[in-house]
């Protein structure tokens, strides 16, 4: 650590300071690796170490490598990409670590450095730029993508593609993903464009905003709808803030912290007028709560980010904390619950979603062993590291009880991945979001015909 020239750089744009062989602005935080005493208590919590048994694929090994760069013993070379980018950013190690080492946070910071030292090239760069910069941050382009997908699904093209074997020309993992794409609906951002405030049912207790998400709103608009219904049912006026954007998690995971910061600033400003930002995607929620990390070197925005983060809450915890109405109708279903990494490890939210689900009459909860083990989805990890994602999913599926009808969880990314697991294992379980269950129970209570 003797090589620290400056820990705080004035502006994130200038690259004057360095820390060992880290030489780009927004330097990693050396106190994060200083916490690690190399005890190894995190090893078995790590899904990638489970698969390879290799230390450089373990939390301890990764911290050791990142520290070595900070100490000038190792350079930011292409050979570092594998250890650093094979991390799922699942945060299981942080739960296991007695010293509370923030391995995931450190990984994100170092990815920021590494991505600048070793920029993506070729088609990977194109795909990355196309989706992460060209699509996700732009609602109108997302809508366009959604319409395209919808067209693909409704026009019969999907059937044609599947029948003719056109999909066989795609890499296996992409073809598999195609098979489990949910049916695309109408994004709530679009649907409620002219109705920015959806009134609570009955007396209004408070007003909340929801993060509609980028891809979430396109692929899972039904979950956003369910979230709105559940919130309004519990006395919340719901506003859909129009200038909100993608949370930036995918960018930060990929090492593009600059775009991450840009999106963060936009969201912080967009939600300025509200007291609560409710999130139904664990990955996005964790990101929003970690905005301050992105502005470590920028006091002004750091403070704004802190204030913003304090307003963010996951929908299950928010309902639990504010006292949701226990539904009266019975659902009569056996289900199990999967802890999304960014809910359990990232936000420490475990009991609240379970309590919400178990409050529904007729629900029988079957415990899943190692419920908080990553499913391998991890944002776009299943696209960038298909082999590892597949192996991690395989290990997850071993733990999913056979005799349940539903698998419930609080993160859309996991929902896609688990759907893939169910399909590949020839199982017939349905994948649902926690709020969908509550929504169904409420609807049934109102006498609607609910089919799960």
């Amino acid at each position: 650590m003797s090589t620290v020239t400056s820990e705080r750089t004035g502006s994130p744009a200038c690259a004057t300071a360095s820390l060992g062989n880290y030489r780009f602005a927004d330097l990693p935080d050396p106190s994060k690796w200083a916490d690690c005493v190399h005890c190894g208590m995190c090893l078995e919590s790590c899904p990638t170490y489970e698969q390879t048994g290799e230390e450089q694929h373990s939390p301890r090994g990764r911290v050791h490598l990142m520290k070595s760069v900070g100490e000038g013993k190792l350079d930011l070379t292409p050979d570092l990409l594998d250890p650093i980018f094979t991390c799922l950013d699942c945060r299981a190690c942080t739960t296991a670590c007695p010293a509370d080492v923030d391995v995931g946070g450190l990984i994100e910071q170092v990815r920021g450095q590494l991505r600048q030292a070793v920029p993506l090239t070729g088609w990977k760069a194109l795909v990355n730029d196309f989706f992460l910069k060209g699509i996700f941050p732009h609602p109108s382009r997302l809508d366009w993508l959604g319409r395209l997908l919808k067209l693909y699904q409704q026009s019969g093209l999907q059937t044609v593609a599947r029948k003719t074997g056109m999909l066989r020309v795609m890499p296996d993992h992409l073809a598999e993903m195609e098979a489990i794409l949910p049916k695309v609906g109408t994004p709530v951002r679009k649907k409620y464009r002219n109705e920015p405030l959806i009134k609570a049912k009955g007396e209004t207790k408070r007003t909340v905003a929801i993060l509609t998400g980028c891809i979430m709103d396109v692929m899972f608009s039904d979950i956003n709808e369910a979230t709105i219904r559940v919130l309004t049912r519990n006395g919340n006026d719901v506003v859909i803030v129009s200038d909100q954007t993608c949370c930036g998690a995918l960018h930060v995971h990929a090492g593009d912290r600059e775009t991450g910061r840009k999106l963060a600033k936009q969201n912080i400003e967009a939600f300025q007028g509200v007291d609560h930002v409710i999130v139904n995607a664990a990955g996005c929620g964790a990101m929003l709560k970690e905005y301050p990390e992105l502005f470590r070197h920028d006091p002004e925005w750091h403070e704004k980010a802190e204030q913003f983060a304090a307003k963010v809450e996951d929908v299950s915890k928010f309902l639990y904390d504010t006292g949701f109405k226990v539904p009266k109708a019975e659902l009569n279903v056996r289900l199990t619950y999967h802890d999304a990494c960014h809910l359990a490890h990232g936000q420490g939210i475990r009991k609240e979603p379970r309590a919400v689900i178990e409050s529904i009459p007729g629900v029988e909860m079957v415990a899943m062993p190692n419920a908080d083990r990553c499913c391998g989805s991890a944002g776009i990890y299943n696209l960038t590291h298909p082999d590892m994602a597949q192996a991690v999913l395989e290990s997850k599926m071993q733990n999913v009880p056979q005799d349940v009808e539903l698998i419930s969880m609080g993160n859309p990314g996991c929902m896609l991945q688990m759907a893939l697991g169910v399909m590949k294992h020839g199982r017939n379980q349905k994948i649902v979001h926690t709020v969908q269950l509550l929504d169904w129970a409420y609807q049934k209570e109102e006498g609607k015909d609910v089919r799960i």
Partner: protein, 482 residues
Amino acid sequence: MRKRPIATNDPHIRALARIVGEEAILYRKEDLIAYDCDGFTVHRHLPKAVVFPNSTEEVAAVVKYCHEHELPFLARGAGTGLSGGAIPLNGEVIISLTRMKRLLHVDLENRRAVVEPGFVNLKLTNSVAHRGYYYAPDPSSQYCCTIGGNVAENAGGAHCLKYGVTTNHILGLEIVLPDGEVIEIGGNGVPDPPGYDLLGLLTGSEGTLGIVTKITVRLLKNPEAKQTVLAYFDEVEDASQTVSDIISAGIVPAALEMMDQTAIEAVEAAAFPVGHPKDIAALLLIEVDGISAGIGEQIDDILTICRRHHVREVKVAESEEERARWWANRKTGFGAMGAISPDYLVQDGVIPRSRLPEVLREIANISRKYGLRIANIFHAGDGNLHPLVLFDASQPGETERALAAGSECLKACAAVGGSITGEHGVGLEKKEEMRFIFSDEEILAQTAIRDVFNPKNLLNAGKLFPTPGRCVETKQVSSTVK
């Protein structure tokens, strides 16, 4: 996993890759750095390569290759060792056993199980718990350390006070000798086979005599009842005296653990706090188990003894959940040091129980002398001390001071008739301190045994024993201290 085409012309790497497969070898610096030390971080050295064999045959083939080409090599499990046993001091080829992690056989009728060396300690208990059995040796690192590593270090744990250390639970071993020959010892169920006790010799040999590739262990039936007591003391002396009195009262607790004030500060600042008061001088965690009848009286006796020694507060765990919390707090104690110090060095001295207060006082003196904090978390019941010297390796000179302070702690243990290691092994760390308890002749007699198994000394060389008259090796070691 994805194939990793070999991108080097090094003939040894290419040959080893042919044995274990391209996806089972590491040789790039970026990967190897993760293997430059184990749980003992003071010394660092890069291995030549790391291989991940999948079977005994592959281990034997790798060993044979190294033997023929005079490449130094060593075995590594989870790398949680605290004495540097898995540090590739001579640029060894590391044979990692982490992919040989199958549970091969469970035979509850005969209360035994057969595991591969990379099988993680706690997983064994987890695999048989629902049938009412468990594997007794429970090092605090049991969440991650391997049974192969436990055999090599003859690991102990909190519950070894009553049930004995690893060697008391090993029934058979399959071993690859340093020339690649595979042998089996024990395992056929004869409790005391004729001839020399090779199982005893191999267990605790710190990876210097052979590589363990299969282990037959004893399983125990879960005790019918279990009770756990937590006691807070204002004086270390009172806590120590309580330990002595419990044992002399004829009670054999399953576990009897102590933590001092600095240790408590760390565990409370870390991830698994219990809410221990910060101003107490020491706490005891006492567990008794066995048949239900009589447990109540034992607990009453323990409470009486605690009170006799001015305990400030004492309580019995009211639920399994509470008990588990107390143990998680204790067992993550070493790692918890990260919450109050950038680095730590844990020592592992053993002393006669009756000398506890005196030695703890001496350790406090050493702490003052070197200006470094020393926390104590240890197996008080069997007098196995773990002074944790807290330091900051980034401060010039602190590492050396910490090493010296640690060594002096061991000297204090040896001075009262104790030993320099209870369970963490000698490894690289304490080989010089072996002189505190053995004469040159005694050390030579032991290296003679090693030479029978390991004549070329290619397997884990430079560990366990000081090298009389050959100062080259010691120089090499000190030059790796950063």
